[in-house]
Subunit: 129 residues, 3 copies
């Protein structure tokens, strides 16, 4: 945990997806209290007709390169942690990959430690969350 779904343009290259994935993971580790090896991401590539969003709602202008990050995390985070994660992720995507900050949207959900089984049918007990 967390588990992140990254939804983006189906023209995005594998190399760029790997870069986005790396930036996301490093930012989670550094700002969101995520263990270094706790990395789980699903990448969903969709054509424009299947990614429907208002270009201007709380954004300067969303382009066809809009990226949506949807996270599920297993323990609470503070507003300060959320803010730092949003800000740092967006800044790094801009600085390192020229992703426009207007094109980055993030949504988080939370459940609890016992809602996760990482492998072998074992319930997660949470001490290393």
């Amino acid at each position: 945990m967390p588990l992140t779904r990254i939804t983006l343009n189906d023209q995005t290259s594998e190399a760029r997806i790997a870069q986005i994935s790396d930036i996301l993971h490093r930012t989670l580790v550094e700002t969101f209290d995520v263990p270094a090896h706790d990395r789980f991401q699903i990448v969903e590539k969709l054509p424009a007709a299947q990614r429907i969003y208002d270009p201007h709602y709380l954004s300067g202008r969303r382009s066809d390169d809009f990226i949506l990050f949807t996270l599920l995390a297993g323990k609470p985070r503070s507003a300060a942690q959320k803010s730092a994660f949003y800000r740092t992720l967006t800044q790094r995507l801009a600085a390192q990959l020229a992703v426009r900050p207007d094109d980055v949207m993030v949504v988080i959900q939370f459940n609890t430690a016992g809602d996760w089984s990482f492998s072998k049918g074992e319930i997660f007990v949470g001490e290393t969350l």
Copy 2:
């Protein structure tokens, strides 16, 4: 917010997807206290083998044109708002697109305002929810 995932038959045309999207969005604005430009939808097209559902559980009969709407919303809604949304969405899909009411399923989840960053790495503060 909300963010809606629409999962449907991969034979659905782009024109029909656009119509379903419009009906969903108008219904959210009119029954679910959603701002007019707050529109975020992901459309997932899948073949029958990847959409597995009981044909009769709490439905007259689900066909291959079954549509599943999964929403994530950032503030609570009342049972009355949920009922109005379900009923109006299903009625409009039937009246305008001949979608069978037995083929419409809706599931909602909720998180909080601070769980959303719409763009620029800014945390959503919620006053215009």
Copy 3:
């Protein structure tokens, strides 16, 4: 309810998907207090580059046949129910389909009865949950 998303290797055959689906559903009915006909599953097939996960975090070793089950359920379950579900699902996948227990991950979320409309625009009232 519940609604389960099964995310797996895009090389998985339709026959094997059907077997995984059957094992999941029977296990939910037997360990997770799910009605016999309450079956709703979405199968997401993705290439390796779109399924990104640490091979060793809380697992012996995840292979390219890693399977992620993400469930949304409409009423609470106890830790004992969750444990039994995780354990039984993983054991059956191993015994019947030779799925490696290190390759099985499960994550659960919960909402409430009124968050579901199974068909016809009717709000679910929950007595048969």
